[in-house]
Amino acid sequence: MSKVTDMTRKLALAALCATATLGVSPSQAQQATELRLTYSNGQFQPNQVSAPADKPVTFRIKNLDAKAMEFESTSLRVEKVVAANSEGVINVRALKPGRYEFYDDFNDKARGALTVQ
């Protein structure tokens, strides 16, 4: 019985290590470039931002409007609903050089772009 318990513990430890290894990819281990945006009156401020290539990016979006917005980008492959008067954090992988557009999925007029170089 104790052998079984010991084996279970070892398996649990191995699973924990594997999960931890999978959970922290090399890109996330790097220091992320933090981009702070505000969202008010249905617009991103600023709506043009830039970041260095091959480094992860973290968007911090403060929604100052009285209704929720959804930060979304097909090219960044992320989406997140940010509730009214609150802040949302979106982690993005290390990016290759290029232009990545983002928008509020609830408001077609709210657009912005990230330039990575």
């Binding site: 097909t74 290759k96 557009e101």
Partner: protein, 298 residues
């Protein structure tokens, strides 16, 4: 039954055409540079694009494929996927669900007459984005595997135990920014089927497709695709039994930011059966196939 299914497809096609004509006038006034990037996975019909969705996105879809027409008699079979898909990371997409099927077969050589609706099995799909598109690189490539278990044979509707392992490479190319896309698939689909008699059949389908899709309006994409498929009576592609070319139009229509549909129709335009000097390959493939998919994102 077949007439009912075809009539349903015709009614949906008419609604879609009416919808497109409404969108057409809007399209002329729109500037494609102001459109949002499009998710390419579903814009090529039976050909699958490279898209894997957005991290955190979940989707429920109902995806029906109908196959119609054999050499003789009446043949109509459908298989519907009731599917849940989600994107846990910016590189991986996972899908799984149940399969439902219908078979309406009468007077077809080598197939028993049948009129049935059944829960046919289940499937899962794992997709990995191997090469991502950027504003500097128009090509994107995704690798996908889809294990499927069936208790109802796809073609005959008989009770069986079928295990299939579809492997695909889904690539697409943005030819004109926000307007014109080319899609390419490479398919290898080995399967093993155990009949109730105890007999075991091994077979495989190998082939590829090319598709071209034009974004008429921000939410309407029209296109065409061609498939070349080869069938083997062995998983290792050694016993070739015939091949076929399927050709037809495709449509993608987004109703709201969170809801869309895709439709496609392919007709067999060329085919051959090894050892049977007839035109078309209707032993392993069908005369027509149609696809209709509705999706809700949340």
């Amino acid at each position: 039954m077949r007439a009912r299914i075809l009539s349903r497809f015709h009614s949906i096609a008419l609604c879609v055409i009416a919808g497109i004509s409404g969108y057409g006038s809007a399209a002329r006034a729109e500037d494609a540079s102001s459109w949002r990037d499009i998710e390419t996975k579903y814009i090529f019909g039976f050909t699958t694009g490279s898209g894997i969705g957005l991290e955190g996105e979940k989707e429920f879809t109902v995806d029906s494929i109908g196959r119609f027409g054999k050499r003789d008699g009446n043949y109509a079979a459908t298989e519907t996927k009731y599917e849940f898909e989600f994107t846990p990371s910016q590189f991986i997409q996972i899908e799984f669900g149940a399969l439902g099927s219908t078979h309406n077969i009468g007077g077809v050589t080598d197939l028993d007459d049948r009129n049935q609706v059944a829960l046919a099995g289940g499937f899962a799909e794992f997709r990995y984005l191997a090469l991502e598109r950027t504003s500097n690189n128009p090509l994107a490539v995704t690798l996908a595997v889809e294990p499927t278990v069936r208790r109802i044979d796809e073609t005959s509707g008989e009770r069986v135990r079928n295990f299939e392992f579809e492997t695909t490479v889904n690539a697409d190319l943005e030819l004109m920014r926000n307007r014109l896309y080319a899609g390419f698939n490479l398919l290898y689909e080995p399967e093993v089927t155990q009949m109730l008699t105890g007999e075991t059949q091994r077979e495989a389908t190998f082939g590829g497709s090319a598709a071209l899709s034009f974004r008429l309006a921000s939410n309407v994409v029209l296109g065409g695709e061609v498939w070349y498929l080869r069938h083997y009576d062995a998983a290792n592609l050694t016993s070739f039994t015939g091949d076929a070319v399927m050709l037809g139009p495709t449509l993608y229509l987004r109703f709201t930011p969170k809801m869309f549909m895709t439709a496609a129709w392919n007709a067999q335009v060329w085919g051959r059966e090894i050892g049977n000097p007839v035109s078309l390959n209707l032993a392993e493939f069908q005369r027509h196939r149609a696809k209709l998919k509705f999706a809700w994102e949340f």
